[in-house]
Symmetry: C2
């Protein structure tokens, strides 16, 4: 089977190229919330669908394409969270797939935030589905076609191997959940196992899993999800995983500020991508854009919000 | 919003009713493997589809409906593994949805093996999608409509709460990954955190999460996934989680035998459901059925395999 990725670079190199091209290490989380999507989009599509899950999914896809058009000049990476698509059933998963396709047409790198994990044979199916290919009677298709995906490490190395191998084969990336951004993340992740905390041991493994997949710029195709809400832990994790790209959620709506994420970066100004979802997509619903624009001018709000986010992160990197 | 589950029993009671009706605590894992699906089904559907992912998904659904018809007299519970549907993209997720619908029409309990987890707001979307409902402009739909789902605990209590609350609201169930059946499951799950192993601490939490959701038969709607390949650990886990139903994978193709799963049960003969997937669905491809029947008589092989599995488990329970 010919692999179209033969000519591609290591995923981390692709990531760094995108960051440099747009001069932005922001990631826009494409997390649809039906209630917050502007009425103009809903009105355009209302009445033409057989059922409500199809209607909602078409609204979501239309909104996403407009958001992608708006942000593509300013950011190189998007991250659809599949939970907010599964909420609309298989129609929602159709919208997820078409969102990925559209984002890639616009030259964006797409991280599928799916947090999958399972025993090895099942993990292989997830890997092939999300970042690999499936062979049906010698016809080869990429079911979802994302560039990278997020994975949960609880099942151990053999459950991670199919993701790592598939990423290697197709020059894709994975981001291992190491330390998450939710308030109770410490309950298991911070447990002391001998000298170390559990998430530090997971970090050591993540570094080891990525050791053989380091690209020309010194970063690995195996990255880590590290919550921006725990800056003390981040500094330690940065040392344990010097070559891992950190996917950092929690900027904006989840409470972390640009200052919190300073320690995610290496001295070279690389090593982290910072995600914001609701604070960009639904900027029209939050201050200061809410007062300035409101829903009818949502594009202005989203446009200003992404530029502000880029500026804030750049200020931190320059300081 | 009216909840149609007002008249339903606790999920664990529903489970026990199904077990008693069929006199079987087997779960058939509906894990499609396209290559192993009989040619007769493929020929029936070949040529009529626009593209290969649709074709494969229609083949899978047709196979599943025939399997469900075959096994429904003998087992009360099925467990589709969503990874093997995602492998065919959104068409595959359509087949997953329709499989659940058909199994429920036939009166079966459906456990969606999705192993989801995420931060609280995202976990809520997963819970609503898989076992709950979504409200779109006051139209309410159940996107996937499973009776229970499997979840990954790595993110802690606040990430589990949306699943538990949604299960409670709609009288559904969850199964928390406590100790998995893969060879490397011990890498993190067996780490010593003070006096206890990590999976024992997860088990204690699982017991606590389920404490308020115990049904009339003494079992909780919050169950646990416990690999049958580790019988020493199972005995300890049985004591830590006396009221949790164990969902036990690993019977048949994954190598565990009926003897291995003996310690999953409580003295009342309840407390565990035993999953087999490939050894039932593709019985025609393995000994002794392979020699006896072959692919053209696959229904005979599957039929005999499920009866044999029921008998083996019953022998253990009687001994």
């Amino acid at each position: 089977m010919a692999v179209d990725s033969d000519c591609k670079e290591n995923f981390a190199d692709q990531l760094i190229t995108a960051i440099r091209e747009k001069n932005s290490c922001a990631v826009v989380g494409l997390d649809p919330h039906f209630k917050l999507i502007p009425e103009t989009i809903k009105q355009k599509l209302s009445g033409s669908q057989k059922q409500v899950l199809e209607y909602a999914s078409r609204v979501i896809l239309e909104f996403n394409t407009q958001v992608i058009d708006l942000i593509a000049p300013h950011v190189g990476i998007v991250k659809p969270q599949i939970a907010f698509y599964e909420l609309y059933g298989w129609w929602g998963v159709w919208a997820y797939t078409e969102t990925i396709r559209y984002a890639k047409q616009k030259g964006l790198i797409v991280i599928g935030d799916v947090k999958r994990s399972d025993v090895p044979r099942t993990a292989e199916a997830y890997a092939d589905a999300h970042i690999g290919k499936v062979n049906i009677d010698d016809v080869v298709e990429a079911p979802f076609g994302a560039d990278a995906l997020t994975v949960n490490p609880y099942l151990g190395t053999d459950s991670m191997r199919p993701f790592i191998q598939t990423a290697q084969k197709y020059k894709k990336g994975i981001f291992v959940l190491v330390k998450t951004s939710n308030p109770d993340s410490g309950e298991f992740q911070d447990l002391r196992c001998g000298e170390k905390k559990l998430h530090e041991i997971v970090a050591e493994k993540t570094h080891a899993w990525g050791r053989d997949f380091v690209g020309k710029q010194g970063y690995s195709a195996v990255g880590a999800v590290v919550g921006a809400t725990f800056s003390h832990e981040i500094s330690i994790l940065r040392k344990i995983m010097p070559t891992a790209y950190f996917l950092v959620p929690g900027y904006g709506a989840q409470g972390a500020t640009a200052k919190d994420i300073e320690c995610c970066f290496n001295p070279d100004g690389l090593g982290a991508i910072i995600n914001a979802s609701r604070s960009i997509l639904y900027a029209h619903a939050v201050s200061p854009w809410k007062e300035k624009y409101g829903m009818s001018s949502w594009k202005n709000a989203t446009h200003e919000a992404i530029i502000k986010m880029n500026d804030e992160i750049q200020n931190i990197l320059d300081s």
